[in-house]
């Protein structure tokens, strides 16, 4: 087929049909793509909602991760299929953009494609389906904005923020401590947030984890934590009112870049060289000391000799601090990073209220706490947990909760959860569909059906009869004209999500629907798959 003929009847080859090359065309391609996407969505479906189940992932090296965070699951799954990989990216971009709802977006995209599959069977062209979806999506977004509510909060009234954060946390394994975790997340975000500009810089929040203790021991540290210890065991364990010097040059004799040989020809030269070398060490430490610094963080190593001088000069130092941490310290303490000893000046020093080394448990694990920094806006969330998995999951959950809080600060409009928003949109779209003539009507209705899938999955995971629940909710929303009726997943006998205080950010929900819609359209529009032969 990829042979065509020119005007003289000679064949020429447009595309080499190779044995190994796999090619799928037309409806087959669409069907295969939809199937792959739905497989991924099917995997995540059982993780949706507060009663969602976890997945256990074994990495190529045998490490175990247990999580129900959609983005993490997909990330660790090593998906190979090209379309399935698009789903992974979808979840990732929701994670980057919003940080929450990563499972929901995949489930929704899967549901959209399932509906599209049905329409394709009925003989509707993919492009028409896309057009219908587009229109339905617009209606859904408009409806979301209509039913959205605003949350009022201020620095003194953070209760609403904590409530949102705990909704996010309730679906995670940390939910036993969700009150505490939610408070930590909100405090962390608020301490770096600029409420006037409605901006939150996440670079200022660092997450550190250490195995040991329980999740209850997790704390918010007003400053920076480094997984390092003092370069020398006899340096003071605690420095108050620290003046911090950040160095990116080693405490060693200078090493010229040019390749050279230094020949020692006589005993005098030998002595002179030795003197010179010792002088380097003394001068280096002297330069640090002269600037008034009383704590040094160095990105590189320290020669034993210079370490000795440092101890004698009572100048506590930390060596091999990572590049990222040096930058973080610079941000937190207001210090300038100094690349050469000659450039040390008192103005380049940073300040912190307290620098201390803390030891944990019965092992020799030590960490550095740098607290009460000059730039008070840097905070570190220090997660503890029984084992590595719990710590990692704790970190991910806190990250989600912080993202949600940030989104609220950026835009304080919310919609109610428990599937109520989806049902409200679905109803609005169904009404709209009746006003449309043409084939799109089918696609629009299909979009509404796909939205219904989210509350159905929620109900299923909560052990409720999905179809009965959905029809109940729909009927009640229409009868009571109340778009806040949703699935009572927690078994609280409270279907009104407004009074059950289950809410999600409007931005998150809109992004979910839009992104799922875009991806579904993208996959539908593909009618030819050319896969190169694998190695």
């Amino acid at each position: 087929m990829s042979v065509v003929f020119d005007e003289f009847g000679r064949p020429f080859i447009v595309m080499r049909e190779q044995e190994q090359r796999q090619r799928l065309k037309g409806l087959d391609a669409q069907k295969a793509n939809i199937l792959a996407a739905r497989t991924v969505a099917g995997l995540l479906r059982s993780s949706l909602g507060p009663k969602g189940m976890d997945k256990m992932m074994v990495s190529p090296d045998g490490d175990v991760t247990i999580t129900n965070d959609g983005a993490t699951i997909l990330n660790k799954m090593e998906v190979e299929h090209q379309v399935a990989r698009l789903m992974v990216e979808l979840s990732q971009s929701q994670d980057n953009e919003i940080g929450d709802g990563t499972t929901g977006v995949v489930v929704l995209a899967g549901a959209l494609l399932e509906q599209a599959n049905r329409l394709l069977d009925e003989g509707i062209h993919a492009v028409r389906i896309c057009e219908g979806f587009e229109k339905a999506c617009e209606v859904a977004v408009a409806q979301l904005e209509k039913i959205s509510d605003t949350v009022e909060f201020s620095k003194d009234n953070i209760e609403p923020l904590i409530r949102t954060a705990s909704t996010t946390l309730s679906s995670k394994i940390v939910h036993r401590y969700k009150a505490k975790m939610a408070k930590i997340a909100v405090d962390a975000v608020l301490s770096v947030a600029d409420l006037d500009r409605k901006d939150v810089n996440f670079d200022l929040i660092k997450m550190e984890g250490k195995v040991g203790g329980t999740l209850e021991d997790t704390e918010l540290v007003n400053g920076v934590i480094l997984d390092k210890d003092w370069a020398h065991p006899q340096m003071p364990k605690e420095v108050n009112d620290a003046k911090i010097l950040l160095l990116t040059c080693p405490f060693e004799a200078p090493k010229p870049k040019t390749k050279h040989k230094l020949d020692i020809k006589s005993a005098d030269a030998y002595r002179a060289l030795y003197e010179q070398e010792q002088k380097y060490y003394r001068d280096m430490v002297k330069m640090c000391k002269d600037s008034g610094a009383n704590t040094v963080f160095c990105q590189w190593g320290m020669e034993d000799d210079s370490l000795g001088v440092l101890v004698q000069e009572k100048l506590p130092a930390v060596r091999w601090v990572g590049g990222v941490e040096v930058e973080l310290l610079a941000m937190a303490t207001g210090a300038r990073i100094v690349p050469r000893f000659e450039e040390i000046t008192p103005e380049k020093l940073g300040r912190a209220g307290k620098v201390r080394e803390v030891q944990f448990g019965t092992t020799k694990e030590r960490m550095m706490y740098i607290e009460d920094c000059q730039n008070a806006k840097t905070v570190t969330v220090f997660v503890r947990g029984g084992n590595k998995m719990v710590v990692d999951e704790g970190k991910r959950s806190l990250h989600d909760a912080m993202c949600v809080t940030r989104n609220l600060i950026k835009d304080n409009r919310i919609v109610y959860g428990g599937g109520s928003a989806e049902v409200a949109c679905s109803l609005a779209i169904s009404d709209y569909a009746n006003t449309i003539t043409g084939i799109e009507q089918y696609a629009i209705r299909a979009f509404a059906d796909a939205l219904d899938d989210v509350p159905m999955a929620l109900a299923e995971n909560s052990g409720l009869p999905p179809i009965t629940m959905l029809s109940n909710i729909k009927a009640r929303q229409v009868a009571e004209e109340n778009p806040f009726i949703g699935i009572d997943a927690m078994g609280n006998q409270e279907a009104n999500m407004k009074s059950a205080l289950v809410f999600e950010t409007l931005a998150g929900k809109i992004s979910q629907i839009q992104m799922a819609n875009q991806l579904a359209k993208l996959i539908l529009r593909v009618d030819d798959v050319l896969a190169s032969a694998g190695q």
Binding site: L43, M56, I173, P254, K261, R271, Q278, G308, T362, V390
Partner: protein, 527 residues
């Protein structure tokens, strides 16, 4: 996997629902059964043989040691091993109990799932049960932290209880005293580095002792004093062989023999200058992390200074903490160097080995436990047991509440859980009941391991606890039930609480899993 519709890479696997759950349960229960027989005072030991080196082996009944040395492929089993390790790191003891409890919980969960109870419902029930159990445990805990005499008694009892399940059982009074003395010397610090354990093969376990001072497995240089009173100690980390010029790219290049000799002389002079500076500090003992060559060593000998070389990293750090000396590397201002102090340094012999003994050191916290025993295996196990005891004791010094052992605390918690069962409606109640059952398997296992009739003993215990005799537990020497408070079987509250919480947390995490996704194993190169 042969599934053509798979979206994953070729060798990845997905287990869903029942299959995933089954493999988790099987793995976790297998691990728990593996260590089950080591629980309690009559627990058996295991021989661990290394795969790569079949000659090296270990005999132990320490749960964490067993689990960390076996190779495990099952992800659920890995979770339990991880948990046991963190129990070891945090509290040092209860590493077996935590795995057994988690295993039993999962065994109960399996039953419940067969009865069509949803895993989430089980988790809900367990959470209620854990809260009740924890409260019961807290209520029963006794705090003697303020009364030193009574607290010491508590500590002794805890040490005895921990040691009774180990090899040191025979001499447990001796070792309990030893461990308590050592920990109390720390004065609230949990830094176990200050307690040095030295193993000397030969003799018997009874000949082990606690030394007030500090023993170092080091040698004194030739021709130097072997005994020194009122020692002023310098601890250094500096090259005492040849002090190389550290300026990059330098090398010696000369054109005559004379020049070589001259430079050698200069080198010697440099070393001499260094030694002189060291001597100027007024020290009479010099301890170096690195080698000390003959030439500087003889210089020290001439000056009548004791010189000890080759103390490793840990050694110098410990010595500097113990003696209060500053770890130095430069000697420009010898007067400024902080010297350490010991009343007496002498060389002693233990068995066939020579040690240097530092007595009357500045930091009274340090002490050394010398273990003697028939073979290295015995010594290794003795060290592990002692370490467990020390770790638990040091944590108890921090959190001074104690609770009862011998299965008493478990029965107490089970009773509390049983009591809340009738107040719970719905399927959760089944899970709560199961939790109590799992708690009761711990004393049952202890009894089984002792060869007693566990069903009989546990039911007796249950009745006793129901009658309000809340201090009844297992008397494993007689095979009856008895008042464990009188028997002196105590355990640290922190360890017990950690067992309860960690086991519940881990089994809940495993129960919540409904799919297992295995990535293709990384291709190993070079085979």
């Amino acid at each position: 996997m042969a599934d053509p519709n798979s979206v994953l890479s070729a060798e990845s696997m997905i287990d869903k629902g029942e299959n995933s759950r089954m493999s988790s349960f099987v793995g976790a229960i297998a691990i728990s059964d593996l260590v089950k027989s080591t629980l309690g005072p009559k627990g058996m030991d295991k021989i661990l043989q290394s795969m790569s080196n079949p000659d090296s082996m270990n005999i132990t009944n320490d749960g964490a040691t067993i689990l960390s040395s076996i190779h495990i492929d099952n992800p659920a089993a890995k979770v339990l091993v991880d948990m046991s390790r963190s129990q070891d790191d945090e509290v040092g003891d209860g590493t077996t109990s935590v795995v057994v409890l988690a295993g039993e919980l999962l065994r109960e969960a399996e039953q419940l799932i067969h009865q069509r109870v949803h895993p989430m419902t089980i988790c809900d029930g367990w959470r209620l049960a854990v809260a009740a159990a924890r409260k019961a445990l807290e209520d029963s805990a006794v705090d003697h932290g303020s009364d030193l005499e009574a607290f010491r008694g508590d500590l002794l009892n805890i040490a005895r209880t921990t040691l009774s399940s180990k090899l040191l059982n025979k001499d447990k009074d001796r070792f309990a005293n030893l461990a308590v003395d050592a920990v109390l010397r720390l004065g609230g610090s949990t830094d176990l580095n200050l307690i040095q354990v030295i193993k000397v093969p030969g003799g018997s376990l009874e000949q082990s002792f606690l030394d007030e001072g500090f023993l170092a497995d080091l040698k004194i240089g030739v021709g130097q004093p072997k005994r020194l009173e009122n020692a002023k100690i310098m601890v250094a980390n500096t090259p005492m062989d040849t002090d190389k010029v550290k300026i990059y790219g330098s090398r010696v290049k000369v054109d005559s023999m004379d020049a070589v000799a001259e430079i050698e002389e200069a080198e010697k002079q440099k070393m001499k200058a260094k030694v002189d500076k060291i001597l100027k500090s007024g020290c009479n003992v010099f301890i170096n992390r690195q080698l000390v060559y003959d030439w500087p060593a003889s210089l020290f000998a001439e000056a009548g200074v004791m010189c000890i070389e080759h103390a490793d990293f840990d050694g110098v750090e410990r010595l500097s903490t113990v003696t209060g000396a500053e770890l130095t590397s430069t000697f420009e201002n010898p007067e400024a160097i902080q010297l350490g102090h010991a009343d007496l340094i002498e060389e002693t012999m233990i068995g066939e080995k020579r040690f240097i003994k530092f007595s009357g050191v500045q930091s009274g916290k340090a002490c050394t436990v010398v273990l003697r025993g028939a073979s290295t295996h015995v010594l290794d196990e003795a060290e592990r047991s002692l370490h467990d005891a020390l770790a638990v004791l040091s944590q108890t010094v921090k959190e001074s509440r104690v609770t009862l052992g011998g299965g008493c605390a478990e029965m107490l918690m089970a009773k509390a859980v049983d009591e809340i069962t009738p107040t719970i409606s719905g399927k959760k109640a089944l899970a709560v009941e199961a939790f109590a059952k799992a708690l009761r398997t711990l004393p049952a296992t202890i009894a089984d391991n002792g060869g007693y009739d566990s069903a009989d003993l546990v039911s007796q215990l249950r009745v006793a606890h129901h009658d309000g005799q809340s201090t009844m537990g297992l008397n494993m020497t007689e095979g009856t039930i008895g008042d464990v408070r009188e028997l002196g079987i105590f355990e640290s509250f922190k360890a017990k609480e950690h067992v309860l919480l960690a086991a519940a947390e881990a089994s809940e995490a495993l129960l919540r899993v409904d799919s297992t996704i295995r990535a293709a194993p990384r291709q190993r190169q070079g085979y």
